[in-house]
């Protein structure tokens, strides 16, 4: 190889370099997503054989009752699980890169709380304002309100926790606690003001569930989540540079402030749209990227799409479990992810080396 002046400086000659890439991780996760998707369609109060599920998906004739269950109930729910899981997983991964902290989860740092507050604000205040502003109670406003709430919470956390280019774990989590406390207090006021019907709806937001979304929910959240995912995927290399440090990233040509704004807005968009349809689903954003990093290393070109794929699979599995554990009732999925995620988070806290504030 003789290409540049530095080649002259090199004395010895080595075989050309081959960087190890890990595309098989992404391929494996894509296969996993396909399997969990079919599984989610098959299981439930009325199990449907896999062969029938696939026949229905490909439009072959099948039992009309099964067809109605799958296309009318389970498919929209599975699509919603994929959207929300992918959005939460990828947002978590991107925020962790941005904050240079593997514990930054949309729920823990207050985005979900802020977003839920925005959505609940529409439920309660919207009905009061409906006399003045006719469209104030329109459920389609919820993603917008959740997005704004999530965005404010994200920027507040960033302001509170970011010092000299690093969000120290302690400060970050404390800032998240503070933001969540404020959101919780304001939510308390709204709950106090709400009537019985609204109260039931609010409880639904705080526990998280895919049950009510349906096709309309998937269509409502879908465009926002997909847009946010596509935006964040474009910045995988810039996020890699951020892991070296903010100043280092700047010297590598990354417009750091712009990157921060774009990723935080995109994450708030994905999380806000998800929360508006399904309520708070915690820990997906911290568990999923961590698992992908364990398998493939911290390169965001793999961690970001990998977290989207695994987040979607995880939520499909969690929702399938939520639907079959207490048949004929079902558990809220937010409860499921918290049950799985919080011990995992605890384990992370205890075992992470270099967890200093």
């Amino acid at each position: 190889m003789d290409k540049g002046p530095m080649t002259d400086i090199v004395q010895a000659s080595l075989p050309p370099l081959r960087l190890v890439r890990r595309p098989f991780v992404l391929a494996g996760l894509a296969v996993l997503l396909g399997l969990t998707f079919v599984l989610a369609l098959a299981v439930g109060a009325m199990p449907i054989p896999l062969r029938e599920v696939i026949a229905i998906l490909f439009g072959f004739d099948a039992d009309s009752q099964s067809q109605a269950i799958i296309l009318g109930l389970r498919l929209p729910r599975a699509v919603l699980a994929i959207l929300v899981g992918a959005g939460l997983g990828l947002s978590g991964a991107a925020l962790q890169g941005l904050f240079r902290n593997p514990l930054a989860d949309p729920g823990l740092i207050g985005i979900s709380g802020g977003a839920a507050l925005g959505a609940v604000g529409i439920i309660v205040l919207g009905h009061m304002l409906v006399a003045i502003i006719p469209f104030a109670a329109d459920p389609r406003l919820m993603p917008l309100a959740a997005f704004v709430g999530g965005l404010i919470a994200t920027f507040a956390t960033e302001r509170l926790a970011h010092h000299r280019g690093v969000a120290a774990t302690g400060t970050l989590l404390l800032a998240g606690i503070a933001i969540n406390a404020i959101a919780g207090a304001l939510m308390g006021i709204l709950i106090f003001m709400s009537d019985d019907n609204q109260l039931r709806e609010i409880t639904f937001w705080t526990m998280g569930s895919l049950a009510k979304g349906g096709w309309s929910g998937a269509l409502l959240a879908g465009p926002f989540v997909v847009l946010a995912i596509l935006v964040m995927l474009r910045y995988s290399q810039a996020l890699n540079a951020m892991l070296l440090g903010e100043r280092e990233a700047m010297h590598l040509g990354v417009s750091v402030e712009r990157l921060k704004r774009i990723v935080m807005v995109a994450a708030a968009l994905a999380v806000g749209a998800s929360v508006a349809v399904t309520g708070i689903i915690a820990f997906v954003g911290v568990v999923v990227p961590h698992l992908v990093r364990m398998a493939a290393g911290p390169d965001h070109r793999i961690v970001l799409p990998g977290s989207a794929l695994l987040g979607a699979s995880l939520l499909l599995v969690a929702d399938s479990l939520a639907r079959v554990i207490v048949i004929p009732a079902e558990l809220p999925i937010g409860l499921m992810t918290s049950l799985i995620g919080s011990p995992f988070f605890l384990w992370l806290l205890l075992h992470r080396k270099g967890l200093k504030s």
Partner: protein, 258 residues
Amino acid sequence: MIEAHGITVRAGNRALIKDISFNVMPGRITALLGPNGAGKSTMISVLSGERRPDEGSVLIDGVDLKLVKPLALARQRAVLLQNSTLDFAFTVAEVVGLGRLPFTASEQAADDEAALSDVRRIAGIEELWEQLYQTLSGGERQRVQFARALAQIWHRRGDETPRYLFLDEPTSALDLRHRRALLETARLLADSGIGVLAVLHDLNLAADYADEVVLLRHGEILSAGETKATLSEDNLSICFDLPVEVMVRPDGRSVILA
């Protein structure tokens, strides 16, 4: 050429550096020397475009640094900072590979492999290549970061764009042999046309390798110019507030004792 014109930086009422002017020339090593708190790192952060000076301006090849986009700047200038921390499990190969980030989706992306192959040999980190950065010693990490900076300014033969390398205390964690090796590399890079600016603590390294020296004291230039003349006993004794002796060996090399 990078030109600093009358740079002043203040923190509150205190001036960290006052009215500093000097040039970083392609093909030469300029050493920035001075005691702690003299303003060396501040000067690096101004020259690298990280910090806007309160007064004065920086020109890179005749263009005001304020007008140069971060990406364009990154394509011709690499900076090795002190104390880089990394909490994520990147391999050495991945860290060095990030040096090629400014060339993503550009024509020069085709050179990535050649660049990485060259710099890992130049920096002597072949054995570390597949290891996790977090498991390395301080000195090894410094050499890896140096390799990353080299990957950033690697260029094809015939590419005449001036390139610059800023080193902020690049040898602080290195042992004797690797200090010399790093400056030998800087010397060769300068000979190939790269403009090198280095903050150094070891005066003897500066005496051996620098073409020019800028002596800073209390945020001002005490003396600047050709290395041998600038590193005089008088200048150094005033600069470091300590009696300094300069001995000239028979082969012409200076040895500085304090």
